[in-house]
């Protein structure tokens, strides 16, 4: 029996994740099963929690939430939902991380690969000028 492919939900301040997803089509081609939910300034924690919960309920088990930064309401709400749903949560959304997550869906449930994704995220930052000088 094959399990359903993990989906990816980004939670971003003001909804910039939607832009990221859209623009990554330039590198990744058509992107399916990936969506963004915007945290808007007027949202209360409760409202935002309910919105995210409704979205997570419709996602296959083992899916992944990527919140934009640690300590924001986006990561706080995702953390809260992890108590009740079979999902992985990672913070620190960026293009490299998203592209890796898209690829890693083929390997299986993203929720089981969060530590690997954290490594990808860490390694995505590089002092390019310094790296060049050391060559």
């Amino acid at each position: 029996m094959t399990q359903p492919v993990s989906e990816i939900l980004t939670l971003t301040h003001g909804g910039w994740g939607a832009n990221l997803i859209d623009c990554l089509k330039m590198v990744a081609g058509e992107i399916h099963g990936v969506s963004d939910l915007a945290l808007m300034p007027v949202d209360t924690m409760g409202e935002f929690y309910e919105k995210v919960k409704a979205r997570v309920e419709a996602m296959p088990a083992g899916s992944l939430i990527i919140a934009d930064f640690t300590g924001g309401s986006t990561s706080n709400v995702a953390a809260r939902l992890s108590a009740d749903f079979d999902i992985g949560v990672i913070t620190g959304l960026n293009a490299t991380l998203m592209l890796a997550a898209l690829d890693m869906r083929d390997e299986g449930r993203l929720a089981d690969q969060v530590d690997d994704l954290v490594d990808v995220g860490r390694n995505s930052f590089k002092n390019i000028v310094k790296s060049l000088q050391q060559r």
Binding site: P41, T44, G71, N76
Partner: protein
């Protein structure tokens, strides 16, 4: 006796604006969250403790527990950023002896029947009653979401209702 470097009302408690802006701006090395609801929810409490920047000690209190601690030793030592989720809990704390001179209103959430008074800060009738009460008690209340905003005096805010 701790130094209260900032006392803020923010329905989101420890979140983006607080973590990235106010902790640094106020030079706090501790955060005290005062919320009966959070105090009764150990899992959520853990999440907020994790949300704080490293090197910042977080304590969570119910309103009664906070006031008791305040009366005992003014929260001990350090530079404390005190966070309340709403006006009602602040008012209760002030009545119970939290003699704070200045309170910043940063965010009260949204909802039907609430009027926008500054940026994304909204007030309803119950909030107005509490604000006038705090004003009469001599507490200096101002509205400011992020440090880049010009602080708004309560008297000016009340004129917009």
């Amino acid at each position: 006796m701790a130094k209260i470097v900032l006392c803020r009302i923010d329905s989101r408690l420890i979140h983006g604006q607080v973590v990235t802006k106010w902790v640094g701006q106020s030079q706090a090395n501790r955060i005290a969250v005062v919320s009966d609801e959070l105090d009764a929810d150990p899992f959520m409490k853990n999440i907020f403790m994790m949300a704080a920047p490293p090197n910042i000690k977080v304590d969570c209190f119910g309103v009664a527990g906070f006031c008791q601690q305040w009366r005992e030793d003014q929260l001990g030592a350090g530079n404390v950023l005190v966070l309340f989720p709403n006006l009602a809990s602040v008012r209760q704390a002030v009545i119970d002896g939290f003699d704070i001179a200045q309170i910043q209103v940063g965010g009260l959430g949204g909802g039907p029947g609430r009027k926008v008074v500054f940026q994304n800060i909204t007030l309803d009738d119950a909030d107005e009653t509490v604000l006038r009460d705090l004003q009469e008690r001599g507490v200096d209340v101002y509205f400011q979401t992020i440090p880049e905003d010009k602080p708004q005096k309560l008297a000016d805010i009340l004129k917009r209702l």
